[in-house]
Symmetry: C2
Subunit: 203 residues, 2 copies
């Protein structure tokens, strides 16, 4: 019996490889924290070697910047797609658009965690820009009033907290976790749970 050969990573154009790594990095960064995840974990999740990740993105920081920018861009696109239709249903459609991002591994956790990284010089700037753009979109493009905007964004931040805290895993266990969920997702939590697997599974 011959030694099992490690499948050499099939060739790919660097642009595609970049995108593949960004997807993997979103999942891995979303599962832990920015500082807490290593470039090696990202590389392994993407199926390439660690030096290649560094080579394609320069530094870990630049990689994470691209991850955040990509996440906010995706969120913005999702919101934009939710605009058409009745004005009354707009807020709900946008809210659904937000929670449906849970289906994409790490997307929501990355956005959520970005709001805690204002202290990082480089990343903080990117996170502020992303948040500000979302706020501006809701206010101007979606046409929300100032108060509506505040409430919409506040609800989003509450969802962020639930996601960031992994309250989903404890659903049913802890005291008020059930009520927290019911308060935030009155239409039932079943759909959400399908999106949110285990406790520390990489999202």
């Amino acid at each position: 019996m011959t030694v099992e050969e490690v499948a050499p990573a099939p060739r790919m154009r660097s642009a595609d490889r970049r995108e593949q790594i960004l997807v993997a990095a979103t999942a891995v960064f979303g599962a832990k924290t920015y500082v807490g995840t290593t470039t090696d974990e990202v590389a392994r999740a993407a199926g390439v070697s660690q030096p290649y990740v560094v080579r394609l993105f320069g530094t870990k920081e630049k990689l994470f910047v691209e991850v955040i920018e990509r996440a906010y861009a995706r969120l913005l696109a999702e919101f934009r797609a939710a605009l058409p239709g009745s004005v009354e249903g707009r807020a709900e459609r946008m809210g659904t658009a937000y929670t449906s991002l849970l289906a994409e591994r790490g997307m929501l956790p990355v956005i959520a965690s970005s709001t805690a990284l204002g202290g990082e010089p480089v990343i903080g700037r990117v996170a502020r820009k992303g948040f500000s753009e979302i706020w501006r979109f809701v206010r101007e493009d979606a046409g929300f009033t100032e108060e509506q905007t505040r409430q919409f964004m506040a609800t989003g931040m509450l969802i962020n907290a639930i996601v960031g805290l992994r309250l989903t895993g404890d659903y049913g266990d802890e005291l008020s976790a059930t009520e927290i969920f019911d308060a935030c997702f009155p239409d039932g939590v079943a759909k959400l749970r399908t999106f949110m697997p285990g406790t520390d599974e990489p999202w």
Copy 2:
């Protein structure tokens, strides 16, 4: 001219020293991230040696757990103190109690950042517990309805995002930062700014 002697840290009972380190650690952890701050920075901020921090708290993780627990306990106490008085003014008094915690270095940033650490096995549990206790207090002890609780907590999470993003520093600079602030603190932002110094000064 004799060599300037480094002032040896004055003797102190370990209980007092622990508290002093916790105060310093709150400021330092609040200024950056949990993973991103070193025990040495904490030690220097507290005016002791790095090994002594480790000795008093066992591990960096245990130190941070105590920092979080202390912050949530403080917040709970502040909320409790805001209960007496007219029922109508209760929400506003509690809100003021929350923002006034900005005066204590790192307190609010630590609480805010804790909502993004659910992925950490040990710390996540503590953060979930703190958040759940706050929710329970608002709902039961403060007597808010489910909807009131949801809105109150959501507003708190929005404040967390503003704090975590350091949007205060950009006030006036970026496009919608001004409106974000006005929407969240309609009573004027002057007081807040006095609480929030520089951009990356340790809070």
